[in-house]
Symmetry: C2
Subunit: 336 residues, 2 copies
């Protein structure tokens, strides 16, 4: 492994000069810089991040804490984060809690506080009291993406408004018998988001003088399979079923669509379905939904953190990222 000393020795300059030249710092003769750059390349010199991290205190890495990696929202945010990091020459370290809460505190203590990263991005999820405190007391910048976590700043869509817009779209089409396919639950992934969307559903219904039926609150766990199974029950009685279903996520909307297809229910003739997300499959499925852009959210948060690292002071920003209604073909006027 060729080190900075090798480069310095081979040129007869000091390591300080090599370091300065390679990092583009001022106060190096252009001619020297050129020679250093050339020699470094020739020798295949690559600085050790451990050494420079130790010496400078900056690791050039950003950590992202996620509940799981392989779900649409989280991996999309990661993609957006990574895009910005790449541009800035930062590396991405992913701390996954891996679904259920095994060794959560091990992950927290061992990795996050280990001076391995310059900033931390936390994906929306349920944190324990202790974890929340740990994040708040981090000595480097941090931010939450997605649902809010009390006492920590965050960026994401306005979940209540997004849910309200979805429900009002259905109401605007004349629907009054509206069911809700809700998320949250088993994975402990996030407490707030599903609750906020549920609350917004109820509030919006109430605001329009519409009642919500307890048995029309179906549990879909933010997943296709669970939602399909729930919807099979929800929609089974042709004499008494909703004319529209508001789904707290697109994946759950797909489940409802699948169930409707199996039951021979025409969409949107007999049933309107709306989701939230604008998942990759939403467009080819023709799903009407409230679009959000997790990549944008991740990129925005990463940029924010990167900027703070650069200027060494907290930045001001609007917490809400946009959402918009995308009308496609799964919603339509209620049938008289």
């Amino acid at each position: 492994m060729t080190s900075i000393d090798d480069v310095a020795a081979s040129l007869g300059v000091s390591t300080a000069t090599v370091s300065r030249a390679l990092r583009g710092l001022p106060g190096v003769a252009e001619e020297t810089r050129a020679r250093v750059t050339a020699t470094a390349k020739e020798l295949g010199y690559v600085p050790s991040s451990a050494a420079s991290g130790l010496a400078s205190g900056r690791t050039m890495a950003l950590g992202v804490l996620v509940p799981v990696i392989d779900r649409w929202y989280f991996s999309a945010v990661l993609e957006g984060v990574d895009r910005q990091l790449r541009a800035a020459g930062y590396d991405l370290i992913v701390f996954s809690l891996g679904g259920a809460g095994v060794n959560r505190d091990r992950v927290f203590h061992r990795s996050i506080l280990r001076k391995r990263i310059d900033a931390l991005l936390v994906m929306c999820m349920h944190l324990t009291e202790e974890e929340r405190k740990a994040v708040q007391q981090l000595e480097y910048p941090s931010i939450v993406v997605g649902g809010a976590v009390e006492g920590v700043r965050h960026v994401g869509i306005d979940d209540a408004a997004a849910a309200r817009d979805a429900v009002e779209h259905l109401i605007g089409l004349g629907h009054t018998r509206i069911a809700h396919m809700r998320g949250g639950g088993s994975f402990d992934i996030d407490f707030e988001v599903p609750r906020i969307r549920e609350q917004a559903f109820q509030d919006t219904m109430a605001a329009h003088g519409l009642g919500v039926r307890e048995d029309w609150s179906a549990f879909g766990d933010f997943r296709f399979a669970t939602s399909r199974a729930s919807a099979l029950t929800l929609l089974e009685d042709p004499e008494d079923r909703p004319t529209a279903v508001f789904c707290s996520s697109d994946e759950m909307a797909f489940g409802v669509l699948k169930a409707a297809a199996e039951l021979g229910i025409d969409v949107p003739g007999e049933l309107s379905v709306i989701g939230i997300d604008d998942h990759e499959f939403a467009e080819p499925m023709g799903l009407t939904t409230i679009r959000q852009d997790p990549e944008d959210q991740g990129a925005f948060a990463a940029d924010l953190l990167l900027g703070e690292l650069l200027r060494n002071q907290p930045a001001d920003y609007p917490p809400s990222r946009p959402h918009t209604l995308v009308e496609r073909w799964t919603t339509g006027p209620v049938r008289p």
Copy 2:
């Protein structure tokens, strides 16, 4: 930031003892170890990974190179990798090339060779000649997951056998008019896998004396949307269309199913569809498919690398991970 010296000073022992005690090395009195552990915890001491990495040469981090993060296969592999790393106390650094090939070499040189990781896992994708060489010459263990990369060892399913099994399932049901929805292309994500599956399709057809039609080779790009669009054309003529479609991935199979539904084609009555993957949606969709387990592949590869790091010598292993046919409800006997 409390350092190892603080802990040592506060106990009146040497830093060496603290280091040994905390890392569970032998040769420390149990009583001493207990006191050290307690004090470390009390003072909130967390070792600096930069410092220990520099001193020991081990970073306790593993790198994973992916073409993109937010696709089913890649994020699932990541999940499996991460599970093993977590158990071993390793951190996960994700190097994403981010779809198209922007700054690819920057990523390679800046990050991968930077002594930030102890081992590298490369997700199947198309590497340039130079990149392949760089990976081969890495001075730490590396492995490819998914499709093979010439000159680098790898783990994954036997793609040819998987495709053959899928096609033979269709042939076994009496189908002779079989189309192929193929992947590969736009993203440059992987050259080998789509090609191998295509070749296996053709070989298997030939082996059974069946012809393949050029116009029945549809391009689905491994994606739902693209596949649906292709299938709409593939299946449009009721007088002359395949009775079965072999899809090189489940997402593409979903696209075919969607197209069939839109065209009013009964599955499996008029059309059989089989995929490869066993995507999360496959079961609720009732899709017959060749199951592979990317999480298992990731975990297996990570374990292999971790083991080699531990024993400091290359391990022997069977390169192929299992695949199995999962029969559900999208395939059936050809209609006379």
